[in-house]
Amino acid sequence: MTRAEAVALTLSSLADGDIVVAADGAISREAYRALDRRRTFYMLGSMGQVASIALGLAMTRTERVVALDGDGNLLMGFGGLAMVGGLKPANLYHLVLDNGCYATTGGQPALSRMVDLAAAALGAGYLWARRSSSGEHTRGAVESWLAARGPALLNLAVDAGETDPAPRVPMTPEEMATRARAALTSA
């Protein structure tokens, strides 16, 4: 399964009220192409901060917050795992789309091939974490993850290839931030 297919499948499994933080780079572009939502915040930079932004949202909102993260991204901001595991927001759901490499910069290998990200999440204090290969079982894995007690992390293996790149999100950063906040705060 490609990363874009896994992103689309996950977005189709969410409720309208769920809040999404989409990682900088390809994940944001693929999320926008699959299903644009006013309650999705699209990151353009700040690699490594997906879990931290999601934690700030989870601490201040009652809705479910879904972080669409990448393996290299999570490794860059590994301290974010400790903050989520330590504070244990029950409404935080963390998906790590794991292609084992830095795909958008040429496929250089990432240390996620040697580091057990689900075990790290459990060690940090997440209440549920699993690794899953992608394929016909993916929908079931996503459903189990979203039904688990949070904070919950699903480390989902996806294809390493970069085919069919998604275009950039056609909004200015200010529009992205203003729209997401307005969707959450206007009655």
């Binding site: 930079g45 931290s52 700030g56 400790a82 931030a177």
Partner: protein
């Protein structure tokens, strides 16, 4: 009333979320933060994660404050530039003002460049003074929200009130 008059003034000015990493110059402020109700204070593991969490809390509808030692500004720079400045997300920041010639060696190089670093990225800053915490809290919230930018209150050891 918390352990910190400065924190009380910031809460009075509308701050509804704090994330940060402690500094010995900000002991009272962090003592006050530890007494806040659940969901209001995030003890972050590094300053870049603190400011990123503040951006999330702002998206969630709160006025979010970051507190840290000025050494943490280095860790924050990527997030301040490619998140807060680029998306225009307000961020009031209380930052300790370390690095005087009498301070320890490890604080001097970044400490003595703090004001130039903030000026380089157009981040407004102001020095805190004892007894002016209410006006300073008002300035910090106003400055960050008017231009939707990070804004910094630099707090010396004696101004941790």
């Amino acid at each position: 009333m918390s352990a910190s008059r400065r924190l009380d003034a910031l809460l009075e000015a509308g701050v509804g979320f704090v994330a940060g990493v402690p500094c010995s110059y900000l002991k009272k402020l962090f003592a006050g933060c530890a007494e806040l109700p659940a969901g209001f204070f995030l003890p972050a593991v590094r300053e870049d994660h603190a400011v990123a969490a503040c951006a999330g809390a702002w998206l969630g509808g709160r006025r979010a404050l970051a507190a840290m030692q000025n050494s943490g500004l280095g860790y924050c720079l990527e997030v301040l530039t490619s998140l807060h400045l680029m998306y225009r997300i307000p961020l009031p920041m209380v930052v300790s003002d370390r690095g005087a010639p009498t301070d320890y060696e490890e604080h001097r190089i970044l400490g003595q460049g703090t004001r130039r670093l903030l000026d380089l990225f157009g981040i407004p800053w102001r020095e805190a003074h004892t007894g002016e915490h209410e006006a300073e809290a008002h300035w910090l919230v106003e400055a960050s929200e008017r231009e939707r930018t990070p804004a910094v209150l630099l707090v010396g050891k004696e101004a941790d009130v």
